[in-house]
């Protein structure tokens, strides 16, 4: 019996076969993007090196957001350590030079609005030129306001942005890898903690543990903030860990700004058999920018030029 193979990656650039052009960024002096050499992913990278990459990711987030004049600051900045660990700490098997390699691990950003951190991470890994980060949210940009697979940006596995959906897609991928293709690839998905209010998260969790998807690792960015305020005021999501446990997950609570602790958590997830793992990463929204840190009002707005300058100075 044969497979009916079809083209998945990458899609035509632009909207569905149209010859829509891709936005070209104007060269911005000062950032050193022209001469940038991508960071490599290795378990040999020290925790300090990974932390330094996280700082670089944060700088690029600020630069992209101030240029875009809209977008989300708090979640992307607060989760940069998680992304640096995943993509540069030897956790994920990925290759920027062969982004759609069949044996790759996959990452699905369920919290689609946090895409500035994913774009910045991918650019720092060399998936595309850093200059392109400065097209974020602009006309014809491959860096859509929420990830759009139709734009064909390497490293974007799925369109996401309607909260609660990315995790279900990740479950489908993990199901495909473990039970249909029977390969050893792993799937990672990050959700926000406000996103846990969406019902599909818990349907997906039920499904992942029913099928014993131990190749799936969920990361909850537990920053206790959402647009309207603190999560315990808008809609209580606690006890987060107990909920995931009740849904059949192995759970790990970790300081989401501690590279070493994050590495250990991902290693524990890989070693856990027979059930999926949920890593609850305690973070501060906007961390470590002084005027954003732990302040929910920075969920969905960008810094202005002056604020960006302060932030970049703090991120040296």
């Amino acid at each position: 019996m044969a497979s009916l193979d079809f083209h998945i990656y990458p899609l035509e650039t632009g909207f569905h076969g149209s010859s829509r052009p891709v936005a070209k960024p104007e060269l911005v002096k000062d950032y050193g993007y022209e001469t940038f050499v991508p960071f490599t992913n290795s378990s040999n990278n020290s925790d300090e090196q990974v932390a330094a990459i996280a700082k670089e990711i944060r700088r690029d987030i600020v630069r992209a957001l101030v240029e875009a004049k809209s977008g989300h600051s708090g979640g992307p900045l607060g989760s940069a350590d998680i992304f640096a660990t995943l993509y540069f700490g030897g956790v994920m098997n990925h290759d920027p030079k062969d982004p759609w390699n069949k044996n790759r691990d996959r990452f699905i950003l369920s919290a689609g609005h946090m895409c500035p951190v994913l774009y910045s991470t991918l650019a720092n890994a060399g998936y595309f030129a850093k200059q392109e980060l400065l097209t974020l949210r602009k006309l014809n940009s491959r860096l859509q306001g929420h990830p759009g697979r139709d734009m064909g940006l390497p490293g974007i596995e799925s369109s996401t942005g309607s909260l609660g959906q990315g995790l279900g897609i990740a479950v489908g991928m993990a199901l495909s890898d473990k039970l249909v293709s029977k390969n050893s690839s792993r799937v990672y998905s990050l959700t926000g903690d406000g996103e846990l209010q969406e019902g599909e998260i818990w349907e997906s969790a039920m499904c992942a543990s029913h099928w014993k998807l131990d190749n799936l690792t969920v990361i909850v960015d537990r920053n206790h903030c959402q647009i309207d305020g603190r999560t315990d005021e808008v809609m209580e999501v606690d006890p987060v860990s107990d909920k995931w446990k009740a849904f059949g997950f192995h759970t790990i609570e970790v300081n989401g700004h501690d590279i070493n602790a994050l590495r250990q958590a991902f290693a524990e997830a890989k070693a856990t058999k027979g059930k999926p793992t949920c890593i609850i990463a305690e973070t501060y929204m906007g961390h470590p920018v002084s005027f954003m840190n732990d302040d929910y009002r920075w969920h969905g707005k960008p810094p202005n030029k002056e604020q960006a300058e302060i932030a970049l100075n703090e991120l040296v």
């Binding site: 019996m1 309607s162 959906q165 897609i169 599909e200 499904c207 029913h210």
Partner: protein, 338 residues
């Protein structure tokens, strides 16, 4: 209000078949859902990357055939239609061809946001089977009689929408959407409805088929209303009206050429569907013709109301979804011709 259909159109025609002007013969009755189930097995036999997600009601939407034959490629999802749609998207983005089937009320409406973002915006190769279409569901009542999903699915970019007219075509259409790359939705029914096409009847995804030639009026129908349209054409012929009957099984993309030719050559259109009149098949055809070839149109369908419990035949008569209403609409639209 509830009228009793003493003689159903199906019975009426059964007595007159063999001498029809359209060449189709009634071969008995069988629900389109069984065609969907058999089509899935055909696909499973052909391709090892076809997988099926079960939504608890597998013996009702007939994914059970596939489950019995290919248990290693069948995944029970329980009652979570929204997440089943997402899981299907994840499978499709991994090179599988996933089918997820439930009742249309849950496979097109509960999960609309998932269809929009994770399936269609992703252009994921997901196939959705939506059963229990229309009021012919019968006794289950309005909650389960979906009358809105043609409207919902055809408005989604990248989606292909097919509504087969009988059991045999449902089987062909299921195989066709499995072999077509891109998001697809197939609509099928619960109740046994007339079987009249054969293996030799032409079916091409994206093509409307002329089932009866005629130039006085064109009746464009989908699903079980295609048979009603053929019955109506027989009756109209007795009054000297030569009706063209078109089986518009693919509603998206619409076969514009066949519709345009019908408008030009017949000068009047009647649409017939077991769906809300607004935004369904009739809406799709009207949207197209109003800019290309405006002709008088009449719409047979459910008029902005919910269904209800009853026997399928009683309901079809009560809601005006029989050949009788098609005949009246045809006469009315012909009178409106200039």
């Amino acid at each position: 209000m509830m009228s009793t259909a003493t003689t159903t159109t199906m019975e009426k025609t059964a007595s007159t078949n063999g001498a029809s002007s359209h060449g189709f013969t009634l071969q008995g009755k069988k629900a389109t859902r069984f065609g969907f189930g058999e089509g899935l097995v055909t696909l499973g036999e052909k391709y090892d990357n076809v997988v099926v997600l079960g939504g608890d009601i597998t013996t009702s939407v007939m994914t059970s055939y596939f489950k019995d034959k290919f248990p290693e490629r069948f995944f029970s999802m329980g009652i979570m239609e929204a997440t089943s749609t997402l899981v299907a998207a994840g499978l499709a983005l991994s090179g599988k061809i996933p089918f997820f089937a439930s009742y249309g009320a849950f496979a097109a409406c509960r999960n609309t946001d998932m269809l929009r973002i994770s399936v269609c915006y992703n252009d994921a190769n997901v196939k959705i089977g939506g059963g229990h279409a229309g009021i012919s569901v019968g006794p289950d009542g309005a909650t389960h009689q979906i009358l809105e999903e043609i409207a919902i699915t055809r408005v989604l970019p990248n989606m292909t929408l097919v509504v087969p007219c009988d059991f045999t075509e449902a089987k062909k259409a299921t195989v066709a959407i499995g072999e077509h790359v891109g998001p697809c939705y197939i609509r099928f029914g619960r109740t046994d409805t007339p079987m009249f096409t054969t293996e030799d009847t032409p079916f091409v995804l994206g093509k409307a088929q002329v089932f009866r030639k005629g130039n006085d009026v064109a009746i464009c129908a989908c699903g079980p209303m295609v048979w009603e349209a053929l019955v109506a054409a027989e009756e109209l012929a007795k009054d000297g009206i030569d009706a063209r009957v078109i089986n518009v099984s693919t509603i998206k993309p619409l076969d514009n050429a066949t519709i345009l030719a019908a408008a030009k050559e017949c000068g009047a259109i009647v649409t017939a569907e077991e769906h809300q009149i607004t935004a369904g098949l009739g809406g799709a055809i009207a949207e197209y013709l109003v800019k290309e070839e405006p002709v008088p149109m009449e719409f047979v369908g459910v008029n902005d109301s919910f269904g209800g419990s009853g026997d399928p035949d009683e309901l079809m008569a009560l809601f005006g979804l029989t050949s009788k209403e098609i005949i009246a609409a045809a006469k009315k639209v012909i009178a409106r011709k200039k």
